[in-house]
Amino acid sequence: MTITEVRSERLTTSKAMVQAIDLEMERDERVIYLGEDVGMYGGIFSSTTGLLDKYGPSRVLDTPISESAFIGLAIGAATEGMRPIAELMFSDFMGVCLDQIYNHMAKIGFESGGNVKVPMVLTMAVGGGYSDGAQHSQCLWGTFAHLPGMKIVVPSNPYDAKGLMTAAIRDDNPVVYMFHKGVMGLPWMAKNPRSIADVPAEAYEVPIGTANLAREGTDVTVVTISLSVHHCLDVAEALAPQGISVEVIDLRSLVPLDRHAILQSVAKTGRLVVVDEDYLSFGMSGEVAATITDADPSLLKAPVVRVGNPDVPVPYAHALEYAILPRPDRIEAAIRMVVGA
């Protein structure tokens, strides 16, 4: 009798993310982590807990509040053979350093005709739902994904958080790794049970650019990402006893986008709802809808329904914020509309 023991442990998303970084830092001394409050504090959203103790201040570096300087430093270090991870504390702060991100990190490989590599990871916290107001609650993945030259990954759960981080660190291209505060399993924020799960102990990669079929269904495809995956799965579970079979696709990566997974599912269900916590216009939801219409509009038995932030800066007051976020009530209403129930 052969017993194959698969070692795993229950981890929050943040701990799974840290474990991936830890294993890569152990394996590859070129990997460093730098950013604001990533040392003693361990990352405001627990993205680096324990790494300073293990690797010391020469590899886990607290930086001044100078995002252009330290993200640019990561870029230069990457071009000279290191594999840095730089953390932008909130995606909302892209405004103070976007030039380094989209004109340098994302373009150097192209402008050099492939002669220079920029193997780095840019991590950032995204998302709202806890009254942090208009400058600390945005997702902005559509903005990043619009700009060519960087891969974009957005895990929703511990397994993907670890596997995508490992893949991101090992990738020879710049990868933007966006973690929603609401999926991290933080003890000081409301969390979905899906923020804690069994994760294999060893290092593994989730391939960048592959979507995850989070739930199989037959009546409608819901394409979503990040914290909204949790809400969509909750809604799908609630609707199942009512005879509505919902398929949920967690994109996990926006660049490259797994268009095949979207098309395959919609070919089966004929109906599509896109749920996106980012701004509605000119973003992910439009891109997913266009994936169908570019390929074969006749796949659709009903118009696509999009649930997103209706192009409103994220309000502070709880009641207002929850009116614009893609909460379960809005997701359920969209699904009912598209299936005619």
Binding site: P64, F70, I71, G76, A78, G109, S112, G113, G114, N115
Partner: protein, 343 residues
């Protein structure tokens, strides 16, 4: 204007004849190159002036007059050191020994160019000499920090030189970079080319201090200002700064009061420039030539030989560029990511 004065850096007259000749040769090579690009750029822009037309299309920022800065600084570097230059990068690329043929081919947008025609004259990347440049003001400073950081971690004695203009010294990235480089004692030499003009805006209209060396000291590093566009004074200042960086003592800043002889870009009529008529009389190359002739380091025959050699190298590079194929439009999607396009 600042009341804090830094001591002016002047040539101590201690340079060997060999160094003086090599500085002159580098300046001549650089100028010869810019004159050739000027000729090729304007050869087929007509009728009138169409910026997008011709063998060398697009914006063109030439460095004539600023040769002393690049020659004086890069004389202390090897190709193991990194240089991040600006939108006006040719003199630094040449002084840092970037392959002239491949650099020229890139300016002509050809497949044998440094970036296979994807970059253009503001985006030259050469891993062999660790040279790069950026078209965005001041934004070449932060990556230089990272190159220096990597060299330090890798136990190399290489350093990074980061170049900007005086207009860039009012950008956030400039100040962020100075602070972080000093804080982490990174082996960086910051160079500010003060050519008096941010396109059409004079320094007096843009800058609160008279001397960017003061800003270096405000960030905890030595700063000096070289007046008079004097290549030997730049060489002296750079020697000190490069030695300091290599010794692990951290960054320094050198501001050089240099001269933009031509327009911000080609096609700029410079109507905003009251001193335009005098510019040629301040050309640093004839001035240095006179100095070297007077001191007996060079004679007329040697000067002719140096000019002819420069011309030969430059025309060879131009011919190489013109002979290189134009990129195939079918490859326009390539190199966005490190693996080839999967579209």
């Amino acid at each position: 204007m600042s009341t804090i004065k830094s001591p002016p850096v002047e040539s101590k007259g201690t340079l060997s004849p060999e160094v003086r000749v090599s500085l002159y040769e580098m300046m001549v090579l650089s100028r010869t190159f810019e004159e050739a690009i000027l000729r090729e750029y304007h050869a087929d822009k007509g009728p009138g002036f169409d910026i997008g037309k011709g063998l060398v299309p697009g914006e063109m920022h030439l460095s004539a007059g600023q040769e002393p800065v690049a020659a004086g600084v890069c004389a202390h570097l090897t190709t193991a050191d990194a240089v991040t230059a600006t939108h006006r990068p040719h003199h630094f690329a040449i002084a840092h020994r970037v392959d002239l043929r491949r650099m020229t081919a890139e300016i002509f947008g050809r497949v044998d160019g440094l970036g296979r025609g994807r970059g253009g004259h503001m985006h030259l990347f050469d891993p062999d000499t660790h040279f790069s440049c950026s078209g965005i003001i001041a934004e070449g400073y932060p990556p230089a920090l990272g190159m220096a950081f990597a060299f330090q971690r890798q136990g190399k004695d290489a350093i990074a030189v980061a170049v900007t203009g005086e207009g860039a010294a009012n950008q956030g990235a400039f100040h962020e970079s100075l602070n972080l480089a000093a804080l982490w004692k990174l082996p960086v030499v910051f160079v500010v080319e003060d050519n008096d003009w941010g396109i059409s805006v004079p320094r007096t209209v843009s800058t609160s201090v008279g001397n960017n060396a003061d800003r270096a000291r405000a960030n905890g590093m030595p700063g000096v200002r070289v007046e008079d566009n004097d290549v030997e004074a730049v060489w002296e200042a750079a020697r000190t700064a490069v030695q300091r960086a290599r010794a692990g003592d951290g960054p320094s800043l050198i501001e050089v009061h240099t001269l933009r002889m031509w327009g911000h870009f080609e096609g700029d009529a410079q109507g905003y420039r009251p001193e335009l008529a005098e510019v040629t009389s301040h050309d640093p190359i004839p001035a240095y030539e006179s100095t070297l002739l007077a001191s007996g380091v060079l004679d007329a025959t040697a000067i002719d030989r140096i000019r002819a050699a420069a011309s030969e190298r430059v025309e060879d590079a131009v011919a190489f560029a013109k002979a290189s194929p134009v990129p195939d439009p079918a490859t326009a999607h390539d190199y966005v990511f490190n693996e080839r396009s999967t579209r």
